[in-house]
Symmetry: C2
């Protein structure tokens, strides 16, 4: 049995779901993989939960941030570097802070300190990788550490694993994805006849869309995921400004419904394609009209999907994967297991 | 750069496609993975092609078996054990002999000798694993060797990788697959109004169906793939006789066409499901009527697909992947790379 210390950054729904999942899965993970993951710290901006015993973190209380300071394990003023260095190499940072796509903070600083301290990193948060992909990959490689981010690229829908493991040795010639569940839900409802506003309100009512949905419907969430997938799988070094992005807000009111009546489907498609010049890749997010022979035509509602076009293996399409915090938590656990498990 | 010696068993379309592919991909694999795969022997029943230089094997000549004895590298009477032992540990057997689902031979003996000699194994051939799954997995684990068989479980459609890597830590609660392209092609054509006989003849005309199609249309090819996927992913130890198999030959002539008219689709579905008793798994292959909400409903023609239902990640579906010898060869190369590449 190998015991792996975990430091958790962020204290929102995903990190709490991860902690709960780890408790539920403990026995199974130990039996199947010979691994024991122990949360030794939860890192916040102004202190840490820290104990010499593995921490158990329950579901979110009403006022999480006020309650944390009453926790007997709360260490005000304790910083992330106070944890990594004394613990030695080989633990793993599980990064779940909110994504800031411009600065990458606070995740970026956390990830850098972890890698520099000889810790591996799995992250559910896109910000740091979008802002500083090459820097972080280079740092990880230089330190001999793993940096995995399935949770930042469509979560439980496997995208990176498939491109990097299942398609190893094949040349990827194109990528097309429906990478944002919220906008796909809205488009599906618009195809059924709802207006954009009605569909958005319905999505917000179900908790599918955020109160401010602009990242999702504006295409930026899809663009961030697309560029991470491209950078990881195509050895590119794109930033967010390299992606041509248009969202679904400007579509004519009856565009999706008219398309549906004509047997077609409107999707917010995120695409990576070789440039016509033959050199380099173009990245684009925008509403696209698919006909029913397209492998993503039938991906509806909050479902996501991705198609990889290859030279030797044909085209491989994945659809499904749970999008909620529990799905994201399961994706973090998956990346963790794959870092530490024995080869098979 | 790490050089990996390869011994190839079988001299048919897949092993030749593999050799060709290796030549084409050499520079890319060296650059991307730091790996150089060199074919040092092709093992036949009555001798080996063997040279101290890496072998290059071209496309199949008209009369392959007669020509091989004229090759300057032909060593009559040389046996597989003459290759592994002197070469030391750490090479890889690439097993491409025809599948005998009952005895597993000749692949079974080749794989045992390879593992006992400290060689890893990747195989495109189902026979040995269907006949002796537990024995081979136990032997591989005891020797600390990898035994990979993506090529035996729907080839370029990633099945094992997704279950073992992308769904690591999740509990698989059910598997459903369309694992045989020939029978799916025939069913697709029958849905369009052809009779079974017409559809089969068309498939044979295109080279999709074998002259003797009984393994494909009888469900045995699907059953073999299903039990390998189940044994690998569910830690079971099933043999072919544990799978309830019915094929597509006994379907009423207009069954698929009537289903299509009613908005449904007939698929030869391979399923693993928990037994109603709550203990253990049931495996079944048989024609199933799917409605259009099923994720495999739209898998038509020679395409394959698989759905994994999990506890934490929802349901994940894969479709596509090339089925021809080149697709199988690319799948062998993928498994090879994943055995020897550095962790990432």
């Amino acid at each position: 049995m190998r015991t792996v210390p975990i430091a958790l950054t962020g204290f929102g729904n995903v990190s709490r779901a991860f902690s709960t999942l780890l408790g539920e899965k403990r026995a199974g993970v130990e039996r199947r993989y010979g691994l024991r993951f122990e949360i030794m710290a939860v890192v916040m901006a102004d202190g840490c939960l820290f104990s010499n015993e593995p921490l158990e973190i329950g579901p979110a209380p009403e006022k999480a941030s006020r309650q944390i300071e009453k926790d007997p394990a709360w260490r005000p003023g304790m910083r992330i570097s106070d944890i990594f260095k004394p613990a030695g190499r080989g633990g793993c940072l599980v990064e779940c802070t909110p994504s800031d796509l411009k600065t990458g903070e606070p995740g970026l600083s956390y990830i850098v300190i972890a890698l520099e301290s000889g810790w591996n990193v799995v992250t559910a948060s896109k910000g740091a990788l979008v802002a500083a992909f090459r820097k972080l990959k280079t740092l990880a490689a230089g330190q001999g550490m793993s940096l995995k981010f399935s949770g930042a690229t469509a979560a439980a829908l496997p995208t990176l694993d498939v491109a990097l493991v299942s398609l190893a040795g094949a040349d990827i010639e194109g990528i097309q994805g429906i990478l944002n569940g919220t906008s796909n839900y809205i488009l599906t409802k618009m195809a059924e006849g709802l207006s954009y506003r009605q569909a958005l309100q319905e999505a917000q009512g179900w908790g599918i869309a955020e109160p401010d949905p602009s990242d999702d419907v504006g295409g930026w969430d899809s663009a961030a995921k697309l560029l991470l997938i491209a950078n990881a799988c195509l050895d590119t070094d794109f930033g967010l400004s390299d992606v041509r992005v248009s969202g679904i807000t400007g579509l004519p009111a009856d565009y999706a419904a008219k398309a549906a009546a004509a047997g077609k489907s409107v999707k917010l498609l995120a695409s990576a394609f070789p440039k016509k010049s033959g050199r380099g890749w173009g990245l684009e997010v925008g509403p696209s009209l698919l006909d029913d022979s397209h492998p993503l035509f039938h991906v509806n509602g909050t479902e996501k999907g991705i198609t990889f076009i290859t030279d030797t293996m044909g085209s491989v399409t994945l659809t499904g994967g749970r999008s909620n915090p529990r799905g994201a938590a399961a994706t973090l656990l998956k990346d963790l297991i794959n870092i530490y498990r024995d080869p098979f």
